[in-house]
């Protein structure tokens, strides 16, 4: 794979390591650099460390979970402009609303349609 200099980084945060690996394969194949995180606290730390272009966030994770993480991210001067897309198995209108209020750019429910998901990622990254 040819790695472009302006290669964009996507942080995938999910406590299901198998899913993080699967998404990494897919995103790397699409030309992105991928970093993983497996709980809320690690998500914030990885975001500070790598300053990704996009964060894909699960809702239910240990150490704070996705809502805690997005709250930290959106309150950080360094990270607040990074778009966040939720990817969760919760199909709950209140959660969708909450995610939107906290500044999320999208909300996908697992299992998800790959094509649609990758389309939104490209759109959010302005590609």
């Amino acid at each position: 794979m040819i790695v472009a200099e302006d290669q964009k980084t996507v942080l995938v945060a999910d406590d299901d390591r198998d899913l993080v690996t699967a998404l990494s394969i897919r995103l790397r194949a699409a030309g992105y650099k991928v970093v993983g995180a497996y709980d809320g606290e690690e998500t914030y730390n990885q975001a500070i460390k790598h300053t990704p272009d996009l964060i894909i966030l699960d809702v239910r994770m240990p150490s704070g979970g996705g809502f805690f993480a997005i709250d930290q991210i959106k309150h950080s001067l360094k990270l607040r402009d990074i778009p966040v897309i939720f990817l969760t198995a919760f199909d709950d209108e209140d959660m969708k609303e909450q995610a939107k209020e906290l500044g999320a750019e999208g909300y996908f429910r697992k299992p998800f349609n790959d094509e649609e998901f990758m389309g939104v990622i490209k759109q959010v990254l302005g590609e």
Binding site: D16, D18, L19, A22, L23, I25, R26, A29, R60, T88, A89, F90, D91, D92, E93, R109, K110, P111, F112, D114
Partner: protein, 481 residues
């Protein structure tokens, strides 16, 4: 007065022979008569000292109370005793309230003579009548006392359903001033008595949401007052789910569905990665096997979503996002998918919707789900021919929009037709078992349509095809409604 002759009004031959045998042993003569006016006139010639009245024949000659009929035939002073089976307590109470002196059981238990002789005494008879009236009054008073202590609504109505009594809990909801009304109007907002009460002769059970927004399970039973009038007593239990219980329930469903969807997402992702060659090239067999994994995961996913959906819908935990919509716009949501399903089977999918069809006030996604489900079934069970989606307007009443999905498929056997909407029900045929499905789609569809105030029904000819129709209220203010 000496007891010699006893007239028996009734047609229970076993009871008659049993009593005759018992009474002959103590030198009493029993003669049976038909429980009709002709029978009672015939009994005049027999000149009985005492009359037995079989309570199983309590309503004859068009419903005249036999006790009045017997008295009118000239038996003004003879004691009248009811004859009843042991389990017929209600009949016994009614007969005492209508003026019977006493009662005996059939078949006879022990020696009935003391009871018959006691009934012969006028003073004893009066005493018994008074006793039974007093007992009924006391009993009715006790019923009211019990009802007053209940924390949930209870009331008593007369045979015309006029409210005679309401307990404190009912008054707290409806106020004091409504006691002149009928129960069906005041409690249930209806213009006619409810079917459940009209159809039940004894105990009735129903559920209702009252004016305070709470759900109650009601039970009613019949009591008799001292005037022999029937009163209906209705008591309720609050079955509104506790807020805390609701919260736990929602969390439980949410967590279970989350934990079922999470591994499905991983299975789906890895199957796609393999099929797209992101993990290296696959040979044809490997591709075929991964396709099976993907299809199975898709089916499992559908089943999980249907189960969650059915659970939410059947337990009332779903909210409709209602808005004024046009049927063609709703159809657009699912038409592409249905067209591709039909094409895969070589079927024609036809849509006929008149341009001037009134709008409906519905949750578009939910109605689209119903159409997708009905048309999906039609495509699934049709091997050749056509699947049609049609819509029309029925102006009767407030106006209804009818959507029909018809096919030229295998049809549904008539025995199964009434059960196709039952949860998990699947018609037992080889063709049906070849197709996937858990038997939830039609149940969900019916509940969605019901939640919109509509109706879903089916008709079918086995081997010829099926038609599923649903009717929704037309949106008020639209030109035709």
């Amino acid at each position: 007065m000496k007891l010699k002759r006893i007239a028996y009004f009734g047609d229970d031959r076993d009871a008659i022979e049993d009593l005759r045998e018992t009474l002959e042993k103590i030198n009493l003569q029993l003669k049976d008569f038909s429980p009709t006016r002709a029978g009672s006139l015939e009994a005049v010639g027999f000149n009985p000292d005492l009359i037995l009245w079989d309570l199983d024949n309590a309503e004859v000659d068009g419903g005249n109370p036999p006790i009045e009929m017997i008295r009118e035939s000239g038996f003004e002073n003879q004691p009248i005793l009811g004859v009843a089976k042991r389990e017929d307590a209600e009949k016994i109470v009614k007969s005492l309230a209508s003026g019977a002196t006493d009662f005996i059981y059939k078949p006879v238990i022990g020696n009935p003579l003391p009871r018959l002789v006691a009934a012969m005494s006028a003073s004893q008879r009066d005493k018994r009548v008074n006793w039974s009236n007093r007992a009924l009054d006391t009993m009715n008073e006790q019923v009211r006392t019990i009802l007053s202590s209940l924390k949930d609504p209870a009331y008593i109505v007369d045979p015309e359903f006029n409210i005679l009594y309401m307990n404190r809990a009912a008054i707290e909801i409806y106020g004091e001033g409504i006691e002149d009304g009928t129960c069906y109007h005041m409690f249930y907002g209806r213009s006619q008595p409810c079917d459940v009460c009209l159809k039940s002769k004894g105990t009735a059970r129903w559920r209702s949401i009252l004016k305070n927004g709470k759900a109650y399970r009601f039970m009613s039973t019949v009591i008799v007052n001292s005037k022999g009038e029937f009163e209906k007593v209705a008591m309720s239990t609050d079955i509104t789910p506790d807020e805390e219980v609701m919260k736990i329930y929602k969390t439980f469903i949410s967590n279970v569905s989350h934990d079922l969807r999470t591994p499905l997402a991983a299975i789906d992702q890895y199957a796609n990665i393999m099929l797209e060659g992101l993990a290296g090239d696959l040979n044809e067999d490997q591709k075929k096997y991964i396709e099976v994994v993907k299809r199975s995961s898709f089916r499992l996913g559908n089943l999980v979503e249907n189960l969650i959906d059915a659970n939410n819908i059947l337990s009332g935990h779903f909210k409709l996002k209602l808005r004024v919509s046009k049927i063609p716009d709703i159809l657009d949501i699912v038409l592409e998918r249905l067209n591709s399903q039909a094409q895969e089977k070589g079927l024609r999918l036809q849509v006929q919707i008149p341009g001037d069809l009134p709008s409906v006030y519905v949750d578009t996604q939910r109605i689209a789900q119903v159409i997708a489900n009905l048309a999906g079934n039609s495509i699934k069970f049709t091997e050749e021919g056509i699947v049609q989606i049609r819509a029309g307007y029925m102006p009767r009443g407030d106006g209804r929009v009818i959507v029909s999905v018809e096919d030229s498929g295998i049809g549904i056997p008539s025995d199964d037709l009434s059960r196709v909407f039952d949860m998990f029900y699947r018609v037992e045929s080889d063709q049906v078992f070849l197709e996937e499905g858990a038997g939830l789609g039609l149940t969900i569809s019916r509940e969605i349509i019901r939640a919109h105030g509509g109706t879903l029904w089916a008709e079918s000819l086995e081997g010829m095809g099926s038609a599923f129709h649903f009717a929704l209220p037309a949106h008020k203010g639209d030109k035709n409604s």
